[in-house]
């Protein structure tokens, strides 16, 4: 999965260049990337356009193009994302019933596992792997918020 997490980081770095919160995501199906995206909140002026929702919509497009039933595709999808999905996104991923979620750093404020265990409300079990390149993912967030939000805690980074 390292190669896919690197692709998610590529998306996260694009986001930071575009002035968006640096979270990147790819969806894997049959060992291939079928969706990739990052936070798109500012560009679309839509606070719900998190990286995962961008990828969900691409996956639905993929299903349409390939004439596949989404109900068969999502259970085979691995979600690889640099930051733990928030409650909203985690709920969406459980609604859709993805196969697994692999994330980088935890989302201590809104995480759909860390803050609330969204899984406990759904009758579905999704394999969750946390902490892949967590420090790097967190550094990107710190870099972003350092420039953005004067009231955010500014940790000393090694850069």
């Amino acid at each position: 999965m390292e190669i896919f997490m690197e692709e998610a980081f590529i998306e996260a770095r694009k986001a930071i260049s575009a002035g968006e919160v640096p979270v990147g995501c790819v969806f894997i199906y049959n060992k291939e990337i079928i969706a990739r995206g990052s936070n798109d909140v500012n560009a679309t002026k839509n606070a719900t356009r998190h990286a995962e929702f961008v990828c969900i919509d691409q996956t639905l497009e993929f299903c349409k193009e390939k004439k596949l039933n989404w109900k068969n595709v999502f259970p085979e999808v691995s979600v690889v994302v640099t930051v733990e999905p928030c409650i909203m996104c985690a709920s969406a991923l459980y609604e859709l019933g993805v196969k697994e979620i692999i994330f980088g750093c935890a989302n201590d404020r809104f995480g759909g596992k860390t803050v609330v265990d969204v899984e406990s409300f759904y009758g579905k079990k999704i394999t969750v792997t946390a902490g892949i390149r967590a420090n790097e993912a967190m550094e990107l967030l710190k870099e972003f918020y350092k420039g953005e939000n004067p009231s955010a805690p500014v940790p000393k980074t090694k850069r």
Copy 2:
């Protein structure tokens, strides 16, 4: 708000005719309905197209057309919906920072207040009014699930 809840019910009844889970929603801004919709999961083949997301997208379109900033519009929006927003939708409404949420019946499985108090994670306070025409909203759901899901509990209705 009764007149707006009736409009939400009109949407919910459309949904049941279309074979969708009967949840209807309208968004009110400056005392007018700017968005209306119902569950659109089957038609769009997208499990995240709940009534609230349909209305969120219409509101963003409204903002674009009227050249209004969504950040100024959502804090003035009243969400009127026949069933309590689920965790995903409630999180989206807190992300967007709507003014208030008025709902019919509680959502005992996935409710963003009943099951998890989504508000406790967001630094925003939204006025929530529950229980408006709750029985009717619940009857619609029962009517739908009676035909759909043989494993769902089938309560005796008065119809």
